[in-house]
């Protein structure tokens, strides 16, 4: 039996009837058509599906859509505001923090919370903070640089 849920994603409210087993990541991708959030591993290891839920980074492949009922969600599509890239996006671009780009949305969403917790992170804090996100292309070094770059831009200003 389907259940009615309503969620706010990137500031827009959506109401849908969903099967209880529908995974949140599939709801976001297939029902809402926001395909920037990716499915990488299916086992909550890779973090490609990371989004913000009520201000916390979570893995949308290991959540049911019904669990997100009434929640505030933010996906990669909600990072930039009025066409201006978020400092994290700028950091990834400037420091070549991505290659194939598949892990990047989840990586940036994890970085969002990482920088909220550690506004001036050490390299070790960044590497440990990315424990839940896998990248097969970059070898991580440019991702570390990207997050350091973003931290510099954000310092003094609150993380959106």
């Amino acid at each position: 039996m389907k259940r009615a849920i309503s969620v706010t994603v990137n500031g827009t409210k959506y109401s849908n009837e969903v099967e209880p087993r529908l995974l949140l990541v599939h709801y976001i991708r297939d029902t809402l058509g926001l395909t920037g959030t990716h499915v990488g591993c299916d086992t909550s290891n890779c973090g490609a599906c990371t989004i913000m839920m009520n201000g916390r980074a979570v893995k949308a492949c290991t959540l049911l859509a019904v669990q997100a009922d009434t929640a505030q969600l933010q996906t990669v599509e909600g990072l930039a505001t009025n066409g201006d890239l978020h400092p994290i996006q700028q950091g990834f671009w400037e420091e070549h923090g991505l290659q194939c780009g598949f892990c990047t949305p989840g990586m940036m969403m994890a970085a969002l919370e990482l920088l909220r917790r550690h506004p001036d992170p050490s390299e070790a804090q960044i590497r440990e903070g990315l424990e839940g996100n896998l990248c097969r292309c970059t070898g991580y070094q440019h991702i570390v640089n990207a997050i350091q770059n973003a931290a510099g831009k954000l310092r003094g200003a609150p993380v959106r």
Binding site: P20, R21, L23, S44, K59, T62, L64, D69, E113
Partner: protein
């Protein structure tokens, strides 16, 4: 990967949840944070007919100090345990343990009650729960009962919980600063190949009391009794600790898998026990 269909309930009270468990019996599974249950449902290794989502029950995520005891609501996330000022002050072993569970995203969702109920021997909490002599409060149709940590873990993936009971609270005693949790994480899953939790009381340069909880090594977490016995009343110099720690896996049926044989696991248990005790002792 896609779970099989199920009926879904999201009760708003513990009583309602217990009623659903009574009604559906073995067909029902409890869903808290979902980080233990959903992965196996996606592999279709678990296909419950009914899922009871207790995540919306209010009031089960509080951490409160009551005298020399701290109570932790079952729905408290690993992150909330890690960052709790009350726990950092009164029972620092739990925040230290929570800080190395999975990753940031997992800690944001996974709950202490869910983790304990799943009773994965490679989870991080069991060793600490045992070393702290914690109590687990289970709520059933007839109200609450308290299960001591040593009785809680029955065997791999099995606890003393009855099918119609829900963990609602975990109670831990206040401790000093001389505690530590050290783990050897599996390189893929992050679960503990070996995890050792230590609670020490030291005075007059001697170990007055010691509790060592070990997870990851055997089918269920255990207290390293031989180690505790050997060190009680002793000064904790490196040699003494090392000798005692070599008995960390005594009597344990150490597990064997692709990553670590039982022999190596037992060896790691000794090494990590030694290091955890010395680390705890250094925190005076």
């Amino acid at each position: 990967m896609i779970p099989a269909p199920f009926e879904y309930y999201a009760p708003s009270t513990v009583k309602e949840a217990i009623g659903l468990l009574e009604q559906h019996g073995d067909d029902a599974k409890l869903l808290a944070g979902g980080h233990s249950l959903l992965p196996i449902m996606k592999f279709r290794l678990a296909q419950p007919k009914v899922v009871v989502d207790i995540g919306r029950i209010g009031g089960l995520d509080k951490i409160e100090a009551k005298g020399s005891t701290v109570t932790i609501g079952a729905l408290t996330t690993h992150d909330a345990v890690e960052t709790s000022v009350v726990l950092q002050k009164q029972c620092p072993l739990l925040p230290e343990t929570a800080s190395v569970i999975g990753d940031m995203q997992v800690r944001n969702r996974g709950t202490i009650g869910g983790s304990l109920a799943h009773a994965d021997p490679a989870a991080d909490y069991p060793g600490a729960i045992l070393a702290l002599d914690a109590e687990i409060v289970a709520t059933g149709p007839k109200g609450n009962r308290t299960i001591s940590a040593k009785d809680f873990f029955v065997e791999m993936l099995t606890t003393a919980l009855k099918p119609n009971e829900i963990i609602t609270e975990v109670r831990v005693p206040a401790t000093g600063k001389t505690v530590a949790y050290l783990k050897h994480p599996h390189p893929a899953s992050g679960y503990a190949v070996v995890g050792v939790a230590v609670v020490l009381e030291i005075s007059g340069g001697k170990c007055q009391k010691i509790a060592v909880g070990v997870n990851g090594v055997a089918g269920k977490a255990y207290r390293a009794a031989a180690v505790e016995k050997a060190l009680t009343g002793k000064a904790l110099d490196e040699k003494t600790v090392a000798d005692a720690a070599s008995h960390a896996a005594d009597g344990a049926d150490a597990a064997s898998d692709l990553y670590a044989s039982s022999e190596f696991r037992a060896h790691l248990a000794s090494v990590y026990t030694k290091r955890a005790i010395l680390k705890a002792a250094s925190r005076t």
